[in-house]
Subunit: 310 residues, 4 copies
């Protein structure tokens, strides 16, 4: 590979930065890179956090906020005096507080049964403020729920392993992918970068691997991405042992246009040396009848033995 | 056609995958490809489903959820005891349940008339939870309604048939399209792929057809897309009979920028051999006066006989 | 101009379609093209209509719907019987109907004062349905309001006239534009198409005019777009009289990236022959001090006499 | 630099416009350009203002509107007569007005306790209108909150100073940047424009500086953008003194694809002559262990002395 390719392909990690033995990219496409010593307000993006946090945590935070805000307002009503809330039940202080708490919940959600209702300037003012805050908070929750749901993510499914298989009269590095969802992915582009340690060094080299085909118009079926191991390939003459010794990592980037969200989406994964099967070929998983094609997605990673060309 | 074109143009279906006689692309642009054996959670995208499901089904699901959730909460209130709901009507158990059901509806929608209102810790807690859930559910519905409505789809109208018509001193494969909506489509690009069976084989060949013009800046009028059948065209020397015998399919892809949604949109359709009229020409459907042009959209597919060049 | 340019530049209107004397593009960027005989459901996009209709009409429609829906539900409650609404005022039938109408409004908006409240199965069911419909309708209104407000439109301001001014040692066709809003427009591209009648014909020719500069990185100031009238220009040797006789129209297209909405935006306008001032130059409207530049937007179209080069 | 570059790189400010000594671009990426004499309705974009105004001001405006609208409606109710509001407290006029005010708040937020409720045609009509307006206003607030939160902004962090450091066997102009947030920035492109005063003139020249590398696929780490000062560079032979005398400004533009919002984002900054440190090199701030890389963001701008090549 020429140096131009290398330059483009150190992925912006920098030559020094890429030294050492570790996994650059996790299977799920996240990077093993951390930022430290960032000021809190530069690091944290509240909305982005709430949009990307897991569902249980998201709902947990919602419930907690709901509870805490009601406790807070209940305290306000309680301190002003429950005599300014008509219809409050019980005689015990705690019962009064509970009454104020549920009145607060009815106000925050703009439910407003009215069995308990505010009288007097202060209690009325707090209630008017609370109902407005309630609407804004639920406006926020609406936005975040929409943000969570509408977020386009090309949930591309990759074969669990890559293979080195015979390809025409040479061999090729191959992996396979498909789009499990109903939304069409269009103008799908693939990119393979190979990273490994230089000989007798802890520094890493980066190569962009040439592909048999860089893009497909539609990703309706399973696509086998192939890097033909020609004499120009850095993989030429390399064996399984060498790949493992050099701590090789094949970094995969997929870029596509997601028709349903009308947005560009990216997907990433990587194959380490031990995730490459030598002398295997992907199984044929497409069935075709008079009405069309049918692809067995569960067999995406299935491969069988096949003699390599020398 | 050279092999480069072919490679790009098997549409990502793969050479083997494209064997056999069937329609690759339906008239509405959907593919005759199915994924099988996908785990449920990889296959299903709840939001995407609710955004793309038909309107009657969408509203049916909304109503059903509303009903089921209210039944559920009514059950909770009922089991805790209707004595914790003030103002509940009737003496019969079923009347009590109905009362709890309607109270639940008033709580879920944050209506809260208050004629029936909760008392006691447990009933109040359920009501506070229900009103919050209600707000979140309607937040979700808001997002989905917006998602449904704002989804850009280039609803391009295609001529029902393609024609082989005289073009300059040769002939051409032609179809016609227009944008029935008021939103402008800009930088509109057309692409025609021809797929047919190889001679004496059940394998398919793919060709990208060269166009007289690949794009227009605006799609304000009807656009006749033309593939001139030159000596370089795979259609050169082909007859209606050959086209049918080879189970030919012309796969049309349109890409445009939709000005009103500020997004890229794609549209697809296909013409099978039996949807191509030989020796016909599209009728002239544009009227122009002093104030501008007027296009008769109902005559988009209209054609009349025209002698082909030899 | 070579024929390639012409082909690209009949704007997708078609050669025949572009015959005759009329304005192709209005000053506000809309086209003088109409579609007729379209089936209703293909032509109408409800959401798109409500998002692009004028504000008074939008609010008029909202109010009207609100009124009509309440009348409808009031009728339901009235027909079931006002005895199923507690606290209804008056003894006259019309007073009862009014009571039902306001109860409906309180239910549709989920206000639910509860002074008037439903009893009995049927009235309760109607109310439960109405409150749900209310939430969905306001969810819809939320989406449409957001759609209306977030719609990016490059509200570019153009000089009211174009000029033919001296340019270096030749002359040039020039117009000027600026972005009145605070949002930055980036990577701004300009395109001028000239359309005029062929000699002794009612058919139109289209030319793409070469520009001194096709794009600017930022549109922070006023940009004078210049077509130098070189010997290669179709404008070479043309006079004001010829331009008017040929019913010339300069069609302007601007494409930019709107930073605040992160979307591509397009803007269009046109100058007819009578909107071109010959032998005038745009006035200098930029003021610069130690703190930066200041542009007098009200003088965008201002020009003064300047002798043309021969 | 050739004149093509210059033309492209006067940033659309115009040659004349760029005369004088001032900062073109502020550190935060905003321009020192103002539009004057714009008609109010052309200049103001209400939604854009509310989406980009600071949070305290945003909430201040919300609260103020809430207060003013309630005062207004309270006035209506008060003028019609508090006898048309059941359950209003107090005997004093001001108490009545307060009661009307809180009733208005309960109506605008669709809280509707019902302790105070409207009777009679006029008061009921006002309340029905107010609750509808309330829903629309909060719909608007929802949209604006979503607009504020979902706005993608590449909050790129730049080194506070640029440096002139040894680069291979020559020197280079360098600055450093990183993305402090968790969202991935992909296909990141950098651009440096140099603006300075012509010799013995108050007119400015603009140059686009060639970069060692124009783009990186990912911005996971800190990226040092380098302009090598070759013999072709306008910086060749320039000293710190010359830079200051020519009032030089390095204008930085970064363009990237923000994966989390699926949108293109731009970031800008500039370095004036006094923000360039001569003969310094950026410190190495990357730590790598077995699990990945760790970058000390607080040291982004840290540099140490380094002898320049001659």
């Amino acid at each position: 590979m020429n140096s131009d390719h290398k330059k483009y392909n150190d992925l912006g990690l920098g030559v020094k930065a890429s030294a050492g033995r570790y996994r650059i990219l996790n299977k799920d496409g996240s990077f093993n890179v951390q930022m430290t010593n960032l000021p809190f307000k530069e690091r944290v993006n509240f909305f982005h956090y709430l949009v990307s946090v897991s569902w249980p945590r998201f709902f947990g935070l919602l419930l907690l906020s709901y509870f805490v805000i009601n406790i807070l307002f209940a305290l306000f009503y309680f301190l002003v005096g429950v005599e300014y809330l008509t219809g409050i039940e019980g005689s015990h202080e705690f019962e009064h507080f509970l009454g104020a708490f549920f009145f607060s919940a009815q106000t925050l959600t703009t439910l407003g049964y009215g069995r308990v209702a505010p009288i007097g300037l202060i209690t009325n003012s707090i209630a008017a403020t609370e109902s407005m805050i309630g609407l804004l908070l639920f406006a926020l929750a609406t936005g975040m729920l929409y943000g969570r749901f509408s977020k386009p993510t090309a949930k591309i499914k990759y074969s669990s392993n890559a293979v080195i298989a015979p390809y025409q009269n040479i061999n090729g590095f191959m992996f396979r992918l498909l789009n499990p969802h109903k939304n069409q992915l269009l103008e799908v582009e693939a990119n393979i970068s190979l990273s490994w340690l230089k000989d007798n060094s802890e520094m890493r080299d980066f190569f962009q691997l040439d592909l048999e085909r860089n893009s497909v118009i539609f990703l309706t079926s399973a696509w086998t991405v192939v890097h033909p191991i020609t004499q120009e390939s850095p993989m030429y003459g390399v064996t399984d042992d060498i790949l493992r010794k050099k701590d090789a990592e094949f970094i995969i980037t997929i870029k596509a246009f997601d028709e349903s969200s009308a947005q560009l989406v990216y997907s990433r994964t990587s194959y380490k040396a031990n995730e490459v099967r030598w002398g295997e070929k992907f199984a044929y998983i497409i069935d075709h009848s008079a009405v069309g094609l049918s692809i067995d997605a569960s067999r995406l990673g299935e491969s069988y033995q096949a003699d390599l060309n020398l």
